[in-house]
């Protein structure tokens, strides 16, 4: 866990974001079946210029290595987009990417 790929592109005031995170996203039942520890993101937040632009509370029923796509307004080329991910074990991962 911990790896993430982020792509952010601004065009006409709208920033399109594609983000992929590495996680098995296994809830209790699935983890038992696979004989691993439950591990999934519970909370994903993205900020640009100190403002929250994306906010999702997630569960283990999202697919493995979740891929998210969304768009937002209020940022321009060169601004930084910052992701904060929290998993069910309380582990926090962050990742930054400049908007192209």
């Amino acid at each position: 866990m911990g790896k993430m790929k982020i792509k952010a592109k601004e065009k006409g005031g709208v920033v399109k974001v594609k983000a992929m995170f590495t996680s098995v996203m296994a809830d209790k039942e699935e983890a038992e079946k696979k004989k691993i520890k439950p591990e999934f993101f519970t909370y994903i937040v993205a900020k640009a210029n100190g403002k929250v632009v994306f906010d999702a509370t997630t569960s283990g029923f999202m697919s493995e290595n979740p891929l998210l796509k969304f768009s937002f307004t209020g940022a321009k080329k060169g601004d930084e987009l910052e992701f904060t991910l929290t998993d069910n074990n309380g582990k926090v991962t962050t990742g930054k990417k400049k908007i192209k």
Binding site: E29, V52, F54, A56, T57, S59, F61, S63, T86
Partner: protein, 152 residues
């Protein structure tokens, strides 16, 4: 007496205005609505998340999903709408618990989300969105899942 009533009304109104304002940014629904994540079926989860208010069916929320998903482990979903939405959530009846993902839409942003979910079996997927004015909108679709991956 009249004046007191009026003052009370004012207080209630102020509280009603203030409460949503504090919720504008970053709401971790796992902390604020823990019961919704334990519910096994969609109706219970929706009730725990959004309360008892009636759900209004709408076609203004674009909910794109395959009718037949060959791989239940990765079903692409797209949600898009121009309505002023505060919270939008996805529930399904295929997994041990219904709540799958809840987006809290930041101020000034529109709903435009794509992601993938897991489903163990064919089931109804329900989208519930809470508008800024408090109206609850809903839309849903049954997604066929063939776990074997043979397309049948």
């Amino acid at each position: 007496m009249e004046r007191r009533k009026f003052l009370n009304l004012g207080l209630v109104a102020a509280a009603a205005v203030l409460a949503p304002m504090t919720n504008l940014y970053a709401v971790n629904f796992r902390e604020t609505k823990p019961d919704a994540w334990k519910a096994e079926k969609s109706p219970e989860a929706i009730k725990a998340m959004f309360g008892d208010a009636p759900l209004k069916k709408t076609d203004k929320i674009k909910f794109v999903a395959p009718k037949l998903a060959e791989n239940g482990g990765s079903i692409p979903i797209t949600l898009k709408t121009d309505l002023d939405i505060e919270t939008i959530a996805l529930f399904q009846d295929a997994n041990p618990r219904a709540a799958t993902v809840v987006f809290s839409v930041p101020e000034g942003q529109k709903v435009d989300y794509s992601f993938r979910i897991k489903m163990r079996q064919t089931a109804l997927v329900t989208i519930v969105a809470k508008a800024k004015d408090g109206t609850l909108y809903t839309t849903g679709k049954e997604i066929d899942v063939s776990i074997g991956g043979c397309g049948g």
